[in-house]
């Protein structure tokens, strides 16, 4: 068992879609008890838009939902009723952290804004992850991950200069924002341990995603140069590219950082004439001859197996990797083994859960399947709030609990 530094902390989680639930998943992985709150009127929308297994179409079996919500508990609570709001506040009274990622005023309109919750629990940590942030002229804008990536500059900077900007092929910001947010929440926990104070914290998904840029924005702010799309090349390294290998749509990525790696590349690929040319010793010369060098590499590697060639290059200290797709990562690559875990789901099918990209003291963080909808409603409201079976039955009857 790995350390669980958030054991004993309880999170009331109103988040939905991907970025918010993955944030609280990171907290759950560290031992926090995360209680996911949904209602039938407002189920987590990701249940509707992610991939479903063959022959299934249910709220429980969505692949993305199950990616985002392992290690949590689920309660179904109708926040459209006064009793539902009162019960939500009762949960907060027993909690340490509250999370949401709605458009900015949603929690306030429920009466669950920071002031309301602080009145219930003075040292509560309330975290909000609105797409644009709670203030600013575009705070009401709606977007999901691909829109946040588009605003962040990553699309505009990816691709070839004479081609359109390119989508990242993944809702990328949905997977990076959670780390910013979990980091900020974990830091707030440390702050509370030292001072006894809670706080309201806000992380704009847009601002966090702009932080994914490298120096491109600084270059514009400071030097007034606007960098463009440069395909697979690099302003730092040369050669730096992606080359077709043998097989169907198989490629290798190679980049060379210095003279030693350049000579190691030439030796491995048999580029003896290029290796002799003094003007290619330094990166500036290799940048100038990039077309010629890339053509020579392309010719040499086209009949090679990307995996075998990559291993030979790595052995010589040259940065290289086969361009792996998700099929490789799930099934072929032994170095990625252990990241995914195959589980049987109560809905009668199997699925993959993914671990975090870390080992703690050599072990994976514990993982258990995402909860079924309302799986822990009775346990939480009975065990935590002390409601008896008659109370629970009445609340179900009234449509407050499901």
């Amino acid at each position: 068992m790995t350390p669980q530094p958030l054991a004993g902390y309880r999170v009331i989680d109103f988040c939905w879609m991907i970025a918010g639930p993955l944030t609280t998943r990171l907290l759950a992985d560290l031992g926090a008890e995360v209680i996911k709150v949904e209602s039938l009127a407002r189920v987590d929308r990701i249940r509707e838009v992610g991939v479903q297994p063959r022959g299934q179409m249910s709220s429980e079996t969505n692949g993305v939902f199950n990616d985002c919500n392992p290690n949590k508990k689920s309660v179904m609570l109708n926040l459209g009723t006064a009793k539902g709001i009162a019960l939500a506040k009762d949960l907060v009274r027993h909690a340490d952290i509250v999370t949401s990622n709605f458009t900015p005023d949603r929690m306030d309109r429920w009466g669950l804004g920071y002031g309301d919750l602080k009145a219930v629990k003075d040292d509560i940590i309330v975290a909000s992850l609105p797409v644009m942030g709670s203030a600013g002229p575009h705070s009401g804008w709606r977007a999901v991950g691909n829109g946040v990536v588009a605003m962040s500059g990553l699309n505009a900077l990816t691709g070839f200069s004479d081609r359109p900007p390119i989508g990242l092929g993944t809702l990328h910001s949905d997977f990076t924002t959670p780390y910013f947010a979990a980091l900020q929440i974990a830091a707030a926990v440390l702050h509370r341990q030292k001072t006894g104070e809670g706080q309201y914290i806000e992380l704009s998904q847009y601002e966090a995603s702009v932080h994914l840029l490298d120096t491109e924005l600084s270059e514009y702010l400071v030097n007034h140069h606007e960098p463009g799309r440069i395909g697979n090349r690099s302003t730092e390294y040369a050669p730096h590219g992606v080359f077709r290998c043998s097989g169907d749509d198989r490629w290798i990525a190679i980049s060379v950082r210095d003279t030693a790696e350049w000579h190691a590349l030439c030796e491995t690929l048999g580029l003896t004439e290029l290796a002799k040319r003094p003007e290619l010793e330094l990166v500036e010369g290799r940048h100038a001859a990039a077309d010629e060098i890339e053509a020579a590499i392309g010719e040499r590697v086209q009949g090679e197996d990307a995996w075998a060639l990559s291993a030979r290059l790595q052995e010589k200290g040259v940065p290289a990797s086969p361009v792996e797709d998700v099929g490789d990562l799930v099934g072929r690559d032994p170095m990625a083994r252990g990241f995914f875990e195959e589980i049987d789901h109560p809905a009668g099918m199997s699925m993959l859960l993914q671990h975090e990209p870390v080992l703690w003291n050599g072990e994976r963080l514990p993982i258990r399947r995402a909860p079924l909808m309302g799986e822990h409603t009775e346990e939480v409201f009975s065990g935590l709030l002390g409601l008896g079976s008659e109370d629970l039955a009445n609340l179900v009857e009234e449509g407050v609990l499901y």
């Binding site: 203030a135 588009a150 993944t170 799930v330």
Partner: protein
């Protein structure tokens, strides 16, 4: 002296939040992080410094790869002028140590005994590898947490760049058009994702150390960190493709095409979010006279997925009817998820970010200029993010050796004299 900061029409306003008290304390104040990371993990401790940790960046007296990397301020190279250095070393203290000499690692060991967490380089020199080997670290500093990093698990492969990281983690393959090679994403995203995982690991180690007296070791895999960003396709592969390759996404993301040209030749991201489908139907009807989507069959999400080409064609036509900014305004007014594809010039002039005080100026003594930079994205009632400058190379060597390692002035002078420790040259004020 010259000023680089862009003209601003008005001073940035701080975001208005419910405030309980005056901002007093950054949450990681008091935590000591020793940063020996190479480029892949260098942003981890930047975020920790943003949140108040004391981060001692240990770097070679001649400058390391982060400092030497261009572009540079005013395109003039120098250890103090690299934009990567100014960004990723912001808020850190610089201890210049000749890490190619064994004696330097005794000093690192002394730091480690006081540190909450050390962040190790991914590509380790023999001396670094010896220092971070588990038995030695446990003997030198049993209470300190260690964030270590590998390119891939169960592998000796060490030579890594960001390109190679995106290739190994499955992100590179998804980008580009079918007729092209897979396309390298901007932003050094493999490094970013590994750094984010490392930053959270460091705070986890701080928490564990506070609880248990010792942190332990967290090892980040860059390949897995990138895989984390592509996980929404893992079950799709498991259930459907069964090793049939999914192909590249071109102008799309998961769920089809999302990038469309607007009427002024710019680009927008237009996402068909299921709940906003009725709003889309109304818009295409009003703007294009397109009535076919009013048929009840289109209300079914699966039907739409099976006829996505028709939806995409209508979206393409709709987007061409208005210039980008008008299209976004109108789409957002209709609760449709349409936003601009922005370049860095758009971001720099975005009134939303400007009003939120996202851009702030920081004075740099070594450059003799004020540099405009972005603040960290963390907003709180307990603190405010105020960007601070990056340190000069060796600027804090004396301070760290004295206050953390307990060396006296004479001992420090001897270390400087021997070339083991570098100190920053005093800045001439103009």
């Amino acid at each position: 002296m010259w000023i680089i900061a862009r003209e601003q029409s008005r001073p940035p306003a701080l975001v208005s939040l419910p405030r309980r008290c005056e901002p007093v304390t950054l949450p990681l104040l008091g935590q000591l992080i020793v940063d020996l990371a190479d480029e892949p993990l260098v942003m981890a401790s930047t975020l920790l410094a943003d949140l108040g940790a004391t981060v001692v960046r240990v770097e070679h007296p001649g400058g390391d790869a982060v400092r030497r990397r261009g572009p540079f301020v005013a395109d003039i190279p120098g250890n103090e002028r690299g934009l990567a250095h100014l960004r990723y070393n912001a808020g850190k203290k610089s201890l210049a140590l000749a890490l190619d000499r064994p004696e330097a690692w005794a000093i690192v060991g002394s730091l480690a005994t006081r540190a909450d967490v050390l962040i190790a380089p991914m590509e380790k020199s023999p001396l670094a590898a010896e220092f971070f080997a588990e038995p030695r670290m446990a003997a030198v500093a049993p209470a300190a947490g260690v964030v270590d990093a590998v390119f891939r698990r169960d592998s000796d492969e060490r030579a890594v760049t960001d390109l190679v990281g995106t290739a190994a983690g499955g992100l590179l393959y998804l980008n580009g058009f079918e007729e092209d090679a897979p396309n390298y994403p901007a932003g050094k995203l493999a490094y970013k994702q590994a750094s984010l995982a490392a930053a959270l690991a460091a705070v986890s180690l701080c928490m564990e150390r506070a609880l248990a007296g010792t942190g332990g070791r967290v090892t980040v895999s860059m390949q897995e960190a990138v895989m984390w960003t592509t996980i929404q396709t893992a079950n799709e592969n498991y259930w459907y493709w069964n090793k049939v390759r999914p192909g590249r996404h071109g102008l799309g993301s998961v769920g089809g095409q999302t990038i469309f040209e607007s009427g002024d030749g710019a680009w927008v991201s237009f996402y068909q979010h299921p709940p906003s489908w009725p709003n889309f139907v109304k818009w295409v009807s009003e703007a294009l006279g397109e009535a076919r989507f009013a048929d009840a069959a289109w209300e079914d999400q699966l039907y739409r997925l099976h006829h996505m080409a028709e939806v995409t064609a209508a979206t393409r036509a709709l987007c061409l009817t208005l210039p980008r900014d008008e299209l976004v305004r109108e789409g957002q007014r209709r609760s449709i998820l349409v936003v601009p594809v922005q370049g860095v010039a758009d971001i720099a002039s975005d009134p939303h970010l400007r009003e939120r005080g996202f851009f702030q100026n920081v004075w740099h003594d070594q450059i003799g200029a004020s540099i405009e930079t972005m603040r960290a994205p963390f907003i709180s009632t307990a603190y405010e993010m105020k960007p601070v400058r990056a340190p000069a190379l060796g600027e804090h060597s004396r301070e760290v050796l004295s206050s953390v390692c307990g060396l006296d002035e004479r001992a420090i002078d001897a270390l400087v004299e021997s070339g083991l420790v570098g100190v920053a040259a005093p800045v001439e004020q103009s």
